[in-house]
């Protein structure tokens, strides 16, 4: 029961932090808005489905202009950042546990690179690819992940080390394809590079919905597997001896983590470091038990991405958020590496 209380306390704390971060993020911009007004406008934007259609449970008195800026312009992007950060935090935690490798991140089996091939292909040859950019990226991600799995599979078993190396090789190969495509990019080069850096502009409630529809149920599934993930950390033979169907569990974990990564990458491009650093930080804070670690790392991923995207928006020229996450995340990670024991899971 102690563990449940801890999970609830951390999740509640991080949930509140997320809300505060979102309020602050929505108050920052070309027009500064008082955070209290922002909070009211955000609550006004909340809708609940009922039998008689969508209902707004809150109706605070907020100036029309502020309401529009918050709910129409800023909130979709902030919500998308939260959803994508949540997805990447989830996937990164699962991949690190799964691979028992501190360098594992959400795209370790090539999911992001696959998405990048799909996206860049659409950007460079818009008429040759019969999918929208988002779909091309999503399908590219799934195809790459599945291909890596098939390559690593040997007679029904997928050794983790083989999976890791197959992922590296496939990523290198796909990287070559991306470079090749970029040679022909011409005027669309800037757009392609921008996508590859990871970004949250062009956010809309539709994208937020897509990410949440995939990420929330997948997160729930992964959370239900948290105890299996703990046992897998003992090694596959021990896990089998403790009653885990190792190969089946590995497929579930890998597929679910790749799916949330794919949907996040398909709307936001390749945002690095969130899925690598956030799980490490949370592991230092809450310990290795995935029943606590998974929800806290997911929420912390949301907080981190909303905060870094706010930084990305604040400068005179807007930066792709991927640059900010890497620029802030890498030094912080190095600090942890020197100060604490991040080298072990």
């Amino acid at each position: 029961m102690y563990r449940r209380a801890r999970a609830a306390a951390w999740s509640g704390g991080l949930g509140s932090t997320l809300f505060v971060t979102m309020v602050v993020a929505a108050s920052v911009g070309s027009v500064a808005i008082d955070p209290v007004v922002v909070a009211k406008a955000m609550l006004n934007a909340v809708v609940l489905p009922t039998t008689s259609g969508w209902v707004h449970p809150f109706a605070f008195d907020v100036a029309q202009s502020s309401q529009v800026i918050v709910a129409r312009l800023r909130l979709p992007r902030i919500a998308l950042g939260a959803a994508v950060g949540f997805a990447l935090g989830t996937a990164g935690t699962v991949m690190q546990g799964f691979f028992r490798n501190p360098m594992a991140d959400p795209s370790i089996i090539g999911v992001s690179t696959g998405a990048a091939v799909g996206a860049v292909a659409v950007i460079v040859f818009p008429f040759a690819v019969p999918f929208s950019l988002q779909w091309a990226a999503f399908l590219g991600a799934l195809v790459a992940g599945f291909a890596v799995y098939l390559i690593a599979n040997q007679g029904g078993r997928t050794p983790v080390a083989t999976l890791l190396l197959a992922g590296v090789a496939v990523q290198t190969f796909l990287g070559a394809i991306i470079s090749f495509l970029l040679l022909f990019a011409g005027e669309s080069l800037q757009r392609a590079v921008y996508w590859l850096m990871g970004h949250l502009h062009n956010a809309g409630w539709g994208k937020v919905g897509v990410v949440l529809v995939v990420a929330v149920p997948t997160f729930a599934l992964l959370w239900a597997y948290a105890r299996d993930l703990n046992v897998l950390l003992l090694g596959e033979e021990d896990a089998h001896a403790l009653g885990i169907e190792v190969e089946r569990t590995k497929v579930v974990l890998l597929a679910a983590a790749s799916l949330v990564t794919a949907v996040a990458v398909s709307v936001a491009g390749v945002i690095g470091f969130v899925g690598l650093v956030v799980p490490h930080v949370m592991r230092l804070l809450v310990g290795p038990d995935h029943r606590v670690l998974l929800p806290t790392a997911a929420l912390a991923g949301a907080v981190f991405l909303v905060a870094t995207d706010t930084v990305a928006r604040m400068g005179p020229a807007e930066l792709p958020v991927g640059i900010v996450t890497a620029a802030l995340g890498a030094p912080f990670f190095l600090y942890l590496l020197r100060e604490r024991e991040v080298h072990e899971l």
Binding site: A224, R227, L233, L234, H240, A241, G243, E245, P288
Partner: protein, 269 residues
């Protein structure tokens, strides 16, 4: 009750086990002995389902091991692995709690029974004092006992142990094997690979001597531990005596050219 019938294990061209048959009765302790590479660990791995025999079959209480799900098997057979680098920060209690995995549902919390089983396992292995320490900080011997506690928490009728005393000092070697002995006396069945012949002879009911993938003999320690059998298994001359303290056989390996001291020589042949 474990039955091993004509089990062969091949890895590619190499035959690791050849036509091994033996049975271990309920409430009995079998020690697997033999030189390095004899196939002891391989045989254990066919008992806990990690390896599917190339030919032959292994049954536990009548059920074919390869036909059981991991969960069903983990409710019958608990394994104490030889080496475990638990290089992360779970505390010992969490590791022992993982022993309850085959008894728990995916979404359900720990039941009263689960908690009691964990406490009992911690008590019996004298690891309760370590329960809140990260396993990464424990000594090799302490970790070994935590793994034994994990297997006890599984509450299975069969225990499989791979070199349970290898990394222990003499005090904990004794404590571990007498604990296994006690569990067997309560009706559990234990199979353990043990290098130390004297210790094995002291605590087990029967011994199986393996060499080169073949089972040379099974029987009481007194019947298995003879100079001839040990010479053919280990390729080294030995002197077997009765330990004056325990009354069980004690084995001394001799250098090949060693002139056996007069006293030993006199009553050896």
């Amino acid at each position: 009750m474990i039955e091993v019938d004509d089990v062969c294990v091949e890895f590619g061209d190499a035959t690791v086990l050849r036509d091994v048959s033996l049975s271990v009765g309920e409430g009995s302790f079998l020690a697997l002995v033999g030189p390095n590479g004899a196939g002891k660990t391989t045989l254990l791995r066919t008992l806990n389902g990690l390896l599917e025999p190339t030919a032959g079959r292994v049954t536990v209480d009548g059920a074919d091991v390869t036909g059981l799900s991991a969960r069903e098997l983990a409710r019958r057979v608990a394994t104490v692995p030889q080496e475990n680098h638990l290089g992360f920060d779970f505390d010992a209690r969490s590791i022992v709690e993982m022993g309850r995995t085959p008894h728990r549902t995916r979404l359900g919390g720990a039941s009263e029974g689960d908690r009691e089983a964990v406490e009992r396992a911690l008590d019996r292995t004298e690891t309760a004092a370590l329960a809140d320490r990260p396993v990464g900080e424990l000594s090799g011997g302490e970790r070994q006992r935590v793994l034994l506690a994990r297997a006890l928490a599984q509450e299975t009728p069969v225990l499989v142990l791979d070199e349970p005393t290898a990394s222990l000092d003499i005090n904990h070697q004794l404590a571990t094997l007498s604990l296994v002995r006690g569990l067997v006396d309560e009706g559990r069945t234990a199979v353990a690979a043990i290098h130390d012949l004297d210790l094995a002879a002291r605590f087990c009911d029967r011994m199986a001597l393996l060499a080169d993938g073949e089972l040379l003999t099974v029987g009481t320690p007194g019947a298995v531990l003879t100079s001839e059998r040990l010479a053919s298994a280990y390729g080294v001359p030995t002197a077997v005596r009765e330990n004056p303290v325990t009354g069980t056989p004690t084995v001394t390996a001799l250098e090949r050219e060693q002139r056996v001291s007069r006293r030993v020589e006199a009553d050896d042949d």
